[in-house]
Amino acid sequence: MRLRVLGLLVGLLGLVSALSAQGNKLLVVLEEEADKSRYSQFWSSLSDRGFQLTYRSPKDTGLSLFQHGVPAYSHLLLLPTKAKGLGPALTPNLIVDFVNAGSNVLLTLSSEVGIPSAISSLLLELDITLPADRNSLVVDHFNYDTKTAAEDHDILLLPSPKQANNAIKDYFSVDSLVAFPHAVGQVLGNASPLLSSILKAPSTAYTYNPKDDSGDSLEDVFASGNQITLVSAFQARNSARFTVVGSAEALEDKWFDAAVQVPGAGKKSEKTGNKAFAEKVSAWTFKEAGVLKVESVSHYLNEGPQSTLTNSSSALGQANVDLNPTIYRIKNSVHYAIALSEWSGTHWTPFTPAAADSVQLEFSMLSPFHRLNLIPSSQTPTATIFTSTFTLPDQHGIFNFFVEYRRPFLTNVEEKRTVTVRHFAHDEWPRSFVISGAWPWIGGIWVTVAGWVAFVVVWLYSKPAQPKGDLKAQGFRR
């Protein structure tokens, strides 16, 4: 274990330039060497960011995602292939294993070359559905490039992606229009909370199969409008990322420098934002952005001498603080703090949640007894410390301090600290004489005691008046 950590450290030191929080080995799978040159700007962008690119063909027999049972690469980029499958080294099961092992995948599709069925079935596992026809593409008669697709309307021009609400942090916005030629539309399932769309088609778009002239497909379109996602993001429970880009062409050099124009009077020709967008999508997929880390978790009893502690970590370093105890008592006041950092691409920075969002703490046993918004109370150079002080519930049991922070485009934070909450010990209750309601009873006891003593005194010192009657009474009591 220690060796592995050491190895990781050495590895990280050696790659000062790597921007990914995870690793820098990137496998690019492309069918023909000739295709490579079409994406040269994208490759240089990636290698500038510190990735070691390895180019392989799916037919390559030496290709393997795993080495000695662990992933041989941190990231995988799949370019469209004409073949029906991706070969024995890239079966859907292997790619799923690759993702389960924590590695990231950027998958690009193209309606020009068609979609292998292996890819379709792989995406189905992620609850992403592709059109049944291999050559379906997305068209839009209002947002197309008038220069190159005046007839076909299949080169979409999209405004910069923005998030639906301000509870989600934005990682993908660019300054100008994004050109999306010959895109494959994806439909995301309703059930999976792991999916989110990075780029959606405009409300006027729909899917269309150019090879089907009958027009039947227009009667029952596969998907239309906002339901079509052009770039979708899947983040597995282990925070491995899987991004599907609907148009591989959009990453080509051609579209990085192209000037485009939307239809309509008064619209000017402008340069595409494809380069920036490609950078952002790849940066997110390969864990350069949206990566969170829990720097520390601490909780302590906020009572007695410890109640005066400040939240600063220097105070917590004091020797007399009982940090992270395993047992509390019911109704204790407890302080909880979690330090979260976000990877900026070069170093860890304090994490700030989106404007309408906050990190929440659950104090739960079977179900939450408390669900509290954590307040960002202070910052260190590398992390924001979110804290909360609260009173434990009047219920003993085995509880969890549980921070489960799952947001789209951010890696999952799941911090569970188990503590025992015990009942009052026998000497922790208030003494009877402190409780005013008990005074009559305490009084009753002492009156009885005094009365009995008085009775004994009277009994012992009273002289019997009539010896006869006295005998009788004694006879009974004997």
């Binding site: 859907p92 099961n93 799923v96 993702v99 389960n100 379709s120 079935s121 189905l124 596992e125 992620l126 609850d127 559905t129 059109p131 049944a132 639906a164 439909v187 995301l188 399932g189 309703n190 059930a191 999976s192 909370p193 792991l194 989110s196 769309s197 596969f222 339901q227 899947f234 597995a236 429970r237 282990n238 491995a240 047992i327 046993m365 079977l366 003993h396 049991g397 085995i398 509880f399 188990t418 025992t420 909450v421 015990r422 009942h423 010990a425 026998h426 000497d427 009788k472 009474a473 009974f476 009591r477 004997r478």
Partner: protein, 766 residues
């Protein structure tokens, strides 16, 4: 044993006459008692010799664990112990919900031995505590019986019976470290002190009774038996017109001090004044004050006015007391009778209303052969002894009669209450047998009857009250002659030797039987199973410990183990892992939750297990070995208990075939086959047999050709003989699929294309 009846005509008569004789007899008695105690201890050591010094069964494992906690953390921490390793995630306020007497006793012994610089392992103290206390029980029985009978041999016989009777050995063999281990001693000794108190009428004996009653309360829930028996005794005495200042003093002393003592135990707390089970003692306490007051008034008033006053008073007091009781019960101040109490009167009650009580085997009604099995010849001497009590009915004999009647009933209702019956059976049987021995073992012929020949059974007594007896004789009709003067004596040596010989033979048979039963039935630790190989050698089946040690060594320290509650204490004690439910069945809902998880489909069970943070599931499966105490045989109880809480989701009927059979083979119902318990029991079981030949040796049925499949669990461990099977609960699927889908994908089954949807399209809203 027969020798213990003292003879006065032996050749060395000098030792048996006068002051020397008294001393000799005292010494002999002491030696005999010590021998009995030694025999009692020795006969309980079978299990230690056969197996090893190990804690037995289920509850003792908890007691053992609690004792270790007490030793390690001290008394006050034990008192305030909150146990976070059981009943996950609820925890258990253990210090406040146990009877601490047993642990404190062994803790005290441990510290005493350490003080004497004898470092004895606490395990050995716990293992040997029950035998040690059985020696004391024999002594207490001797004392109790000596109070009952004038015969010098009765006490020794009773002690001897108590020492070796299987009914008591069943709960006190070495390793059976349960509350009953010390509770029976305390029960008998408290009764002895009570009898003594009633006889003497002294505050000291009453106070001692209260003291030992308090000890008893701290040791066993069965103290309620004393709480009700002593008031009943007092009540019957009052009804018989035997109210006396002696009774008044002893009862009030016992009640006041004993109740205060019992309220010091946190688990009991305010029960003595709030629960119906304890109301009789309180009621009799009130009644005895009234009776005492009435006696006092009677002494002061003329009888006519007294009659009127009495009648009015009785009516008023009865009305007020009864009305008050009803009111308090209805308003909830006094807890109504507990379910366990109802089940004492109606044996069918528990099965309908509280399956969790009925599911315990020791709560089942006793089978008739069990009486003979546990008590052998004592069971037919017992009525004779009770009859003897009627012949000479003093206060203490009344007690024997009441005790005998009550406990016989209770022993018939519940197997475990055989334990409370045993002491009185020993006492009564010893009284009967000593009568026989005293009559037939006297070597010299009795003196000639003092009366004339027609009074053949005239008095042989020496008090010279022949005249009165003559008058009595003439007053009593012929048929009741035998009741007039019981003891005569036997003249014929033949009948003497025949009877004595027969009794000796019976006693020897009794010893033989007790030894046989102890050795064969009650000395198995049930943690380790013993079997015989074909060549006669002993083969130990040690699956339980194998599995528990696997858990101990291969899982995280805080890995939660879900199993049926029977194994909770053992997992806690041997594997040292947190459990969801255990043998302290304080939370029926939690047990029902486990029952539901076991008896439902995987899709239903998995969220339950996730919610309870279960890491491992443990099942007991006897199908390979033919071990009948396995979980499939207990399964219906899980279903019933779960049905009690979720009648809509778990239904017992669904586990029976259309013809009402409980089957595990091809014809088992789909509910049965899909239940988690069935799947866990038979998972991969097919692989042991040739195709289609899988056989369950407990149920004696052939299993379906294809075994069940598990998707949310994976097999982690199976013990040598497949008795214990442990499964690990899988984590949620990384891609957010269900485990079934993930499993199907892993096997290469393609999912259906989502393109062809039916019905209206469901749009995604972000």
């Amino acid at each position: 044993m027969a020798v213990t009846a003292t003879n006065s005509d032996s050749p060395t008569s000098i030792f048996f006459k006068g002051e020397t004789g008294r001393n000799t007899r005292g010494l002999l008695r002491l030696i005999i008692l010590c021998t009995i105690a030694a025999a009692a201890v020795a006969s309980r050591l079978f299990s230690v010799i056969r197996f090893e010094s190990i804690i037995h069964e289920f509850d003792p494992w908890f007691n053992f664990r609690a004792t270790k906690y007490l030793i390690q953390h001290g008394f006050y921490n034990f008192w305030d112990w909150f146990d976070d390793r059981t009943w996950h995630p609820l925890g258990r306020v253990t210090g406040g919900t146990l009877y601490p007497g047993l642990m404190v006793t062994s803790g005290a012994i441990y510290h005493f031995l350490r003080f004497l610089t004898l470092p004895v392992d606490i395990r050995n103290i716990c293992v040997l505590l029950a035998p040690a206390f059985s020696g004391l029980t024999a002594f207490a029985t001797y004392l109790l019986t000596s109070e009952m009978s004038d015969s010098p041999s009765a006490g020794l016989l009773a002690a001897c019976f108590m020492g070796i009777t299987p009914g008591y050995i069943s709960r006190s063999v070495a390793g059976s470290y349960d509350n009953e281990a010390i509770a029976i001693f305390l029960l008998v000794f408290t009764f002895y002190l009570w009898i003594k108190a009633v006889k003497v009428g002294s505050v000291m004996w009453g106070g001692l009774t209260a003291l030992f009653y308090g000890y008893m309360v701290s040791a066993w829930g069965g103290y309620v038996f004393i709480t009700n028996l002593i008031p009943l005794h007092a009540f019957v005495l009052i009804c018989m017109g035997r109210f006396s200042p002696r009774l008044y003093v002893s009862y009030t002393t016992w009640y006041a001090l004993g109740t205060l003592a019992s309220m010091q135990i946190p688990f009991v707390g305010f029960l003595p004044i709030r629960s119906s089970d304890h109301m009789s003692a309180l009621g009799i306490f009130g009644l005895i004050q009234l009776v005492g007051f009435t006696e006092y008034i009677r002494a002061q008033l003329p009888s006519k006015q007294f009659q009127t006053l009495l009648r009015a008073m009785v009516l008023i007091v009865f009305g007020v007391a009864f009305g008050g009781l009803v009111l308090l019960t209805v308003s909830g101040t006094i807890a109504p009778w507990s379910g366990r109490f109802y089940s004492l009167w109606d044996t069918g009650y528990a099965k309908i209303h509280i399956p969790i009580i009925a599911s315990v085997s020791e709560h089942q009604p006793t089978a008739w052969p069990a009486f003979f099995f546990d008590l052998n010849m004592l069971i037919w001497l017992f009525p004779a002894g009770v009859y003897m009590c009627f012949r000479n009915l003093r206060d203490e004999q009344v007690f024997v009669v009441i005790y005998a009647v009550l406990s016989s009933y209770f022993a018939g209702v519940m197997v475990r209450l055989m334990l409370t019956l045993t002491p009185i059976v020993c006492v009564a049987a010893a009284m009967a047998l000593s009568q026989i021995l005293d009559t037939f073992l006297v070597a010299e012929a009795p003196a000639e009857p003092s009366g004339d020949a027609t009074k053949a059974n005239g008095s042989a007594s020496s008090n010279g009250s022949a005249n009165i007896k003559d008058k009595l004789n003439s007053a009593i009709p012929e048929s009741l002659r035998s009741t007039k003067a019981p003891l005569v004596g036997i003249y014929s040596y033949l009948s003497k030797s025949l009877t004595a010989g027969a009794v000796t033979a019976y006693l020897l048979l009794f010893v033989l039987h007790c030894t046989w039963v102890t050795s064969n039935a009650y000395s198995s630790p049930s943690v380790v199973l013993a079997s015989r190989l074909p060549d006669g050698s002993q083969h130990i089946i040690d699956d339980y410990r194998e599995a528990y040690y696997w858990l101990r060594q291969n899982t995280k320290q805080d890995a939660k183990v879900m199993s049926w509650w029977d194994y909770g204490y053992q997992i806690g004690g041997m594997a040292d892992r947190p459990t969801l439910v255990d043998n302290n069945t304080w939370n029926n809902t939690h047990i029902a939750t486990v029952g539901k998880a076991m008896s439902s489909r995987e899709e239903v069970s998995y969220p339950i297990m996730r919610q309870h943070e279960v890491d491992y599931v443990l099942v007991v499966f006897g199908g390979l070995l033919g071990y009948s105490g396995d979980d499939i045989n207990k399964f219906l109880w899980m279903v019933r208990i779960a049905e009690g809480i979720w009648p809509d989701e778990v239904k017992e009927r669904d586990f029976f075939t259309a013809r009402g059979e409980y089957r595990v083979d091809d014809e088992a119902t789909p509910t049965m086959k899909n239940s988690l318990m069935y799947k866990m029991s038979y998972y991969n079981y097919n692989s042991l047999f040739p195709a289609g030949q899988a056989q369950d040796r407990v149920r004696g049925s052939k299993l379906p050709a294809t075994g069940p499949e598990l998707s949310t669990l994976e097999e982690a461990f199976t013990s040598e003989n497949w008795i214990i099977r442990i499964y690990k609960v899988k984590d949620l699927d990384n891609l957010g699929r269900t485990h079934q889908e993930a499993g199907a994908f892993g096997k290469g089954n393609k999912r259906k294309k989502g393109g062809k949807r039916r019905g209206a399209r469901v749009l995604r809203v972000d």
